[in-house]
């Protein structure tokens, strides 16, 4: 082919690329409006999140974002926050970090969201924290208890939400030390900041009781080697820092090999409805919640089965109206409680919310715990979420909270009881019951 024709084709291909990109840019209306921050107009605030609707972490967790959306719809029906309705878009990342990177950039650059809210997962969200902080986008209430969100120095725009795994590990360890003194402890944990954070917390309290700690890689479903190794170490107690699917896989192996330790489950992998459903589906109906009966766990929210609690009553009402297709379980409660926190933070940011304004409000400690049974740690130099947990016991397939909520720090500080009573929904001024 002659070079002039070849050049003509090259120019043509380049022009097509340019036109396609320019055309894709049209039709995407940005946030705009009266405020200086993207995603905020006089009547709306647009936020976005990434969540696993498919993939290994989807069972259970896929209920969280729709539940949060239901809570926002309820708030919007009451007139929104300071006259603005909250528009929440969540995108599926399949718990795949590569997809997280692309959907978060799409939310920030294309959908022009005001903030990223409740982005789910430790392995996923760690890949966008640098990007969000470089771009100065509020990264609020990450749906993961990784201690890594609490780094106000290098990530001033990121805030954790749920109790950090390290604090959880410490309080679980403290309970084991006091009630199961001298027993041998085995730990089965996810090999990332989630499981490692929990293990660090446990070691803070019961390093001398741990006889085996075996990690798994999410995605690899054969966990028999880990469980049998813990069994061989003659553990009397098994502590799981696992997502629900791996709680179920671990218990199925334990059952098959006749390993019957006292079970402790991290809050992350303990929801009886979710784990029971997974046990049923993995065993084709042969197993159910009975395999986690009697386990100890912990929580920073009231038990979802405690219908006398005003927050649970409110969440149930919202669930029945806006999210009735999902089961009413711990994941739904989680999503709604996180959504409350955003609504409260937005209210605290004042009549003209800006990205800087909402971060300042959180740094000033202006957000009350609402449904939480323990306070937030939010302060200028502390971006951790809830500061403690209360021990729970799984009885008849339901979580019953026992004793008192305990609070501590993610380092080696003391563990102390927290005695302030929980706020009612009406107290918060954010949402009417």
């Amino acid at each position: 082919m002659t070079s002039s024709i070849r050049r003509a084709h090259l120019v043509l291909a380049c022009s097509v690329a340019a036109v396609a990109l320019l055309a894709a840019g049209c039709g995407n209306s940005g946030g705009g409006g009266g405020s200086s921050s993207p995603g905020v107009s006089d009547t709306t605030v647009k936020i976005g999140g990434h969540t696993p609707l498919t993939g290994p972490a989807a069972p259970g967790y896929s209920e969280i974002a729709p539940a949060a959306k239901a809570f926002f719809e309820y708030v919007n029906a009451q007139g929104g926050i300071n006259g603005r309705k909250i528009e929440y878009t969540y995108k599926d990342d399949g718990y795949n970090p590569t997809k997280t990177v692309s959907v978060v950039r799409e939310l920030v650059l294309q959908d022009k969201v005001f903030a990223i809210f409740n982005g789910l997962g430790t392995p996923t969200h760690t890949k966008v924290v640098d990007y969000l902080n470089t771009s100065k986008v509020p990264d609020l209430f990450v749906a993961s208890g990784c201690p890594c969100w609490d780094d106000a120095g290098s990530h001033p725009w990121t805030f954790g939400w749920q109790t950090s795994y390290q604090i959880e590990g410490k309080i679980l360890g403290d309970y084991i030390k006091k009630n199961f003194a001298g027993k041998k402890v085995g730990v089965f944990y996810q090999d990332d900041d989630f499981g490692q954070g929990g293990l660090t917390g446990l070691k803070e309290e019961i390093a001398d009781q741990i006889v085996a700690a075996k990690p798994y890689q999410p995605g690899n479903t054969d966990v028999a080697p880990q469980i049998t190794a813990i069994q061989k170490a003659k553990a009397d107690i098994l502590v799981d820092f696992t997502i629900p699917a791996y709680t179920a896989l671990g218990q199925l192996v334990s059952f098959k090999v006749g390993f019957k330790p006292q079970l402790f489950l991290s809050n992350v992998g303990a929801d009886p409805t979710t784990v029971g459903g997974l046990l049923k589906s993995f065993s084709k109906g042969k197993a159910d919640t009975a395999l986690i009966e009697g386990a100890y766990t912990d929580g920073y929210l009231p038990s979802v089965d405690d219908t006398s609690n005003p927050w649970i009553a409110l969440f149930k009402k919202i669930h029945d109206k806006y999210d009735a297709k999902a089961p009413f379980d711990g994941n739904v409660e989680y999503g709604m409680a996180a959504a409350y926190t955003f609504a409260a933070a937005l209210k605290a940011a004042g009549d003209d919310p800006t990205r800087q304004g909402i971060v300042d409000a959180l740094n000033a400690g202006k957000v009350a715990p609402g449904p939480g049974t323990v306070p937030y740690r939010y302060a200028k130099d502390d971006h951790g979420g809830f500061g403690g947990v209360q021990i729970g016991h799984i009885v008849n397939g339901k979580i019953k909270l026992i004793g008192q909520p305990m609070v501590t720090d993610p380092a080696s500080g003391p563990i102390t009881p927290y005695t302030k009573p929980q706020q009612t929904p009406g107290d918060t001024g954010v949402v009417k019951p």
Binding site: M1, L12, A18, A24, N96, P97, T98
Partner: protein, 336 residues
């Protein structure tokens, strides 16, 4: 002469890309960056398959080699971007030479099988050695900072687009010269008839290894650039699906042609965008929406194979001939 002409074309393209990138929104600059790094990978693969007649189902894994090289050098050892990208190119070329030695002994389905095993097996190393490669989590690369001379409001995405476009232009300049050099002609000779090439005194195996090295170097540069743009090297980005879509890309664009590789890159990046637009327009459910791009790939691929077996570039060439832009002499053996 060829060198001068190609240099002039490259400079003109650079100017065009600069203007386009200045006009684009940050998000579309990100897409421009994707088109650019896909172009580098496709251009390399089209040299191997279109020009030299060897098939590779393993180019996704070669991109992973480049990406992890950059992630380790920049993210962990604090290297600057340019030396890290050069290193990614060199390291992947070395891996490619090993693969090329195997490839030179294999033909047809056996070569496809060997490279397929490479594509499936290599990302597994990240899980096998989580301390070195971060397991499924992958390795994080800090976002590249635009030079302060460009002003503090200079968007990160435009800077990423520039990095990727420079990589694409370098690959374009190198490959368009190679194509018209002795090496390019020899590669075509081997593709057309190995026996004849051998009888003419050519060392067929050596030429096939050279083709693999060149192609792998491009894949390494593309993978490294991808890692810089997405700020991440993780196994989830380098699945078998990537290797297959690269092959789809060169077939769609037109085998053996650099302009065809550009067409392929445009289709690979823009097709999911268009499919999302369609899904949103008809408010399709999430299940349909997430599978639509695959269905569209299939339809477009079938359409192109039936209507224009030589790809988009081949169809345009035919159209050009029909419009009398050039004498109707058959010249299809030569890549454009």
């Amino acid at each position: 002469m060829t060198l001068l002409r190609n240099l002039a074309v490259t400079l003109a393209l650079a100017l065009g890309l600069l203007i386009v990138s200045l006009a684009l929104t940050p998000f579309n600059n990100l897409r421009l960056a994707s088109i650019a790094y896909y172009f580098v990978a496709l251009a390399g693969l089209t040299m191997l398959t279109g020009l030299n007649g060897q098939i590779s189902l393993g180019h996704g894994a070669l991109m992973a080699v480049g990406a992890y090289t950059v992630a380790i050098l920049v993210g962990r050892d604090g290297w600057a971007l340019v030396p890290a990208l050069v290193a990614a190119t060199v390291v992947t070329a070395l891996v490619g030479s090993l693969l090329g030695v195997v490839a030179a002994r294999l033909r047809g389905p056996y070569l496809a099988g060997a490279t397929l095993a490479f594509a499936v097996g290599l990302p597994g190393l990240a899980d096998r050695y989580p301390h070195a490669f971060g397991g499924e989590n992958g390795l994080i690369i800090p976002p590249p900072t635009p030079p302060s001379g460009l002003g503090s409001a200079f968007p990160l995405e435009r800077w990423e687009a520039w990095i990727a476009c420079v990589a694409a232009l370098i690959a374009f300049l190198a490959l368009s010269n190679l194509q018209h050099s002795r090496v390019g002609r020899v590669m075509r000779a081997v593709r057309d008839d190995e026996v004849a090439a051998q009888l003419s005194g050519l060392d067929v195996a050596r030429i096939q290894i050279v083709a693999f090295v060149v192609s792998a170097a491009c894949a390494g540069l593309a993978g490294g650039t991808l890692a810089v743009v997405t700020q991440l090297a993780a196994p989830g980005a380098f699945t078998l699906a990537l290797s297959l879509s690269l092959l789809t890309g060169i077939v769609l664009g037109g085998l053996g042609s650099l302009t065809g590789a550009l067409w392929g890159a445009i289709v690979l990046v823009m097709l999911p965008v268009w499919s999302d637009d369609i899904a949103n327009h008809f408010s399709l459910s999430n299940d349909v929406q997430s599978n639509l791009p695959l269905a569209l790939y299939g339809i477009v691929l079938m359409g192109v194979i039936v209507a224009a077996p030589e790809g988009i570039q081949g169809a345009l060439r035919r159209l050009g001939r029909r419009l009398g832009l050039r004498p109707s002499m058959s010249h299809k053996e030569e890549g454009a």
